[in-house]
């Protein structure tokens, strides 16, 4: 009986540890897939409609924010992200495959002009002409734009403004420099 109990506990301990360690990457992997599906591919912004009770892709969304999400994939090189200006709070945040929020910047720093970020895989060459280079700890992840728009009127304006925001693969023809 003692041996049986020990076996149960051993299996339980291994499963416990594996579940806790694997959960973030598994859940994030599903989120990345859903965002990519919504945008019809990786390295493209998914222009999400206003958050409603039918918005069930990501838990606990805020109905006061206009979200743009992009499933980035650095397998084929860097990704360029541009965030359009806004007359209120707007931010770009980057999340690694293990859920870490490894980078965030908001309008207080971005100012009132189009702001560009170059996202590269950690340790990889920096493209020529790249600005505001950010290193991603993982090949895949999610870039998220949040724009404060608590009313239908503000959301309509935000929707217009964010048409200038871009998430795209850095063109292969653009040369890279070591960095």
């Amino acid at each position: 009986m003692g041996g049986t109990l020990l076996r149960w506990l051993l299996v339980a301990a291994v499963v416990h540890g594996a579940a806790v360690l694997a959960a973030p990457s598994v859940i994030m992997g599903k989120a990345i897939a859903r965002v990519a599906q919504g945008a019809s591919g990786v390295n493209r912004f998914n222009h999400q409609p206003p958050v409603t009770p039918q918005s069930r892709a990501i838990v606990r969304p805020s109905p006061d924010l206009a979200y743009l999400s992009c499933a980035y994939d650095l397998t084929n090189g860097p990704v360029r992200i541009r965030i359009a200006p806004w007359d209120d709070y707007v931010s770009l945040s980057l999340f690694a495959a293990n859920t870490d929020n490894f980078y965030t910047i908001n309008d207080r720093v971005m100012g009132d002009a189009l702001y560009e970020v170059t996202l590269i895989r950690k340790g990889k060459p920096i493209p020529e002409g790249a600005v505001n280079v950010v290193e991603s700890p993982s090949v895949k992840g999610i870039a998220l734009e949040r724009r404060l728009a608590p009313s239908a009127e503000r959301f309509a304006l935000a929707d217009e403004a964010r048409k200038q925001s871009v998430c795209e693969t850095w063109l292969a023809s653009e040369p890279a420099r070591d960095g």
């Binding site: 049986t4 606990r60 999340f95 929020n101």
Partner: protein, 195 residues
């Protein structure tokens, strides 16, 4: 032989069940590094942080995926009233608070599935830009119907619900110690059937 195999499979199944159950409980209930409580509201200082421990990461992945680190936003959640009873759509609550020390704040109600509750009341959230203030603060009714409330969070179809408080660009003092922020109170007014 079959008896031995059956025994081994049973042991494996029990072990897996114990492992998954204990992992779920640990992520849900235990206090790990960085978790603090302030007047019934809970936050984790390591949300979104690269310093988060495995349990915090798992909890964030399950309950608050894509949450920002506290330098940008501090999130507080609660699923109980001021007396410690679970928040329930069968009851009516009064939420009272003051403007919070941040560039922008909001209080949002989520159903038991962690999404906006399935209703068309347009009352899932109150925020700093639209809240109707009275004196030095505001008061909101948390109930199925609005009545004559100036501010309303609808609990229609919310079941056992929870609340999230967002402080965007929190003041430095809150960033440093979110536990010192004066957060809204949630008082139970009444329940269906007089519970």
């Amino acid at each position: 032989m079959w008896k031995t195999l059956l025994f081994a499979l049973t042991a494996l199944a029990v072990g897996v069940a114990l492992g998954l159950g204990s992992a779920w409980t640990a992520v849900s209930r235990l206090s790990f590094s960085g978790r603090i409580t302030d007047g019934g509201w809970t936050t984790n200082l390591n949300t979104g942080s690269t310093a988060a421990d495995p349990y915090t990461r798992a909890a964030v992945a399950r309950d608050g995926l894509l949450a920002l680190a506290r330098t940008e936003t501090v999130y507080f959640n609660r699923s109980t009233d001021d007396a410690g009873a679970p928040l329930d759509a069968a009851c009516v609550y009064r939420l009272k608070g003051r403007d919070l020390p941040a560039r922008w704040w909001s209080v949002t109600l989520y159903d038991q599935d962690q999404y906006l509750s399935r209703n068309e009341d347009g009352a899932h959230s109150i925020d700093a830009t639209r809240v109707v203030r009275a004196g030095d603060g505001y008061e909101a009714t948390v109930s199925v119907t609005r009545g004559d409330a100036a501010n309303w969070l609808s609990t229609r179809n919310a079941g056992k619900f929870s609340l999230s408080l967002r402080l965007y660009n929190p003041d430095p003092a809150v960033q440093a110690d979110p536990g010192k922020a004066v957060l809204p109170v949630v008082e139970k007014v009444s329940c269906a059937g007089g519970v």
